[in-house]
Subunit: 234 residues, 2 copies
């Protein structure tokens, strides 16, 4: 994929995510091409990719429309990630956690501990957490014995809000987010514990529950509605 091709897909993803192209509305190739300053060719290619990612869908006989996502869809996407990461964790527990892998996971756990040790959250901590969280999840999914699970998760993550690193939602209320990250950290540690002991079912369930942290734990901690803002990165 050339740089600009990748860029077209990425920019379109962003624009769609931001609601620039309204959900349910038809999206034309020429309009997008002019908007992005490229010819129709890379747009046509990008549309195929975005169709497979689930952000676009066929509009009748001709062309595409922006897919609309309900709150139920978002919840479902989070659950899908939960069961898939749960599957990865269970397989990992069943095949036995190698010392090297335990080491690797402990690194990210330790980084999490250090991050939270000072008792509060700073602005720049958000990125650090996002990174270590991503690596922790990636390590588990990537070690499940086949790239198939990771692929399924990657495709699912294209849906808005579904990705694991969309946890931190409000950098204005870092004190309240702190408690959420504490919970996430504890869950990470419990997962590692279960993995180390070969407790497949427990690891699976912990991982499943962990998926909900960006969604349902807000209510619990008084952080407002369950759905946050879209993550800034892409």
């Amino acid at each position: 994929m050339s740089d600009s091709d990748k860029s077209v897909v990425s920019r379109l993803r962003k624009l769609i995510g931001e609601g620039f192209y309204p959900p349910g509305e038809r999206i034309g190739e020429v309009a997008v091409a002019e908007q992005l300053g490229v010819s129709r060719t890379p747009v046509r290619l990008a549309f195929r990719t975005l169709e497979q990612e689930g952000l676009l869908q066929r509009a009748g006989k001709r062309g595409f429309m922006v897919r609309e996502f309900t709150e139920a869809d978002v919840l479902c996407a989070v659950e899908v990630r939960g069961v898939l990461e749960g599957l990865a964790a269970r397989r990992l527990a069943e095949q036995g956690l190698s010392p090297a892998l335990a080491e690797e996971l402990t690194v990210w756990i330790q980084k999490g501990r250090e991050l939270l040790a000072k008792g509060y959250l700073e602005e720049r901590d958000v990125d650090v957490w996002s990174e270590l969280n991503r690596r922790f999840h990636e390590t588990i999914v990537g070690s499940a014995g086949s790239p198939v699970i990771g692929d399924a998760i990657a495709r699912n993550n294209h849906l808005p809000f579904a990705a694991a690193d969309s946890i931190v939602i409000d950098s204005e209320a870092l004190d309240r987010e702190y408690r959420k990250l504490q919970l996430a950290q504890t869950q990470h540690e419990l997962v590692l514990q279960a993995l180390s002991h070969g407790e497949g079912a427990r690891a699976e369930m912990l991982m499943r529950e962990h998926a909900f942290i960006g969604l349902r734990y807000g209510e619990l901690l008084g952080l407002g509605p369950g759905l946050g803002q879209p993550r800034a990165d892409d």
Copy 2:
């Protein structure tokens, strides 16, 4: 997607599945275009679709290569389908099975009963089973409250052997396949039972186990190796 565009994706899928383009080998646009008798444009579009489906992957900086699947990948893809269909079943059980839906599922169960009632299997029964099996699964997945799960399963099903309707593998040994379908039928009935009673966890686990029927039950029934032949349909 135009007819011929769809046809290019479909034909390429078939050719890749049949091993015409060897796994791990680079696949060029011009070569495929000439092979299929079209210009490069539809091939380029198809490559993007197949990349997202996971059948092709980027080969370094330039072009694509046919992805190779190990036995572990196939097993994993089956497990992925299992957890996803399990998720759908659990959600369905938790939200309560509507009378209309129970009716719908009963139709396919009943058709399965009728198919197996005569005590043996005929050649033409294979298609009938394939159809009712597909409808049974589709109905459950499609009623899970969000198309997200179905999409994830659909994407997963593009991988060879992963689809639910790749159960019937040997139309030469119909007498042995009969026992397998009997088991599948029983599992269908148990799933419906669990769904009707709102037994979410049980429905989920039954559905998960059911996913293995095309893979692991062969050994059990003395049907030879766990992996069958690719399904003929597309």
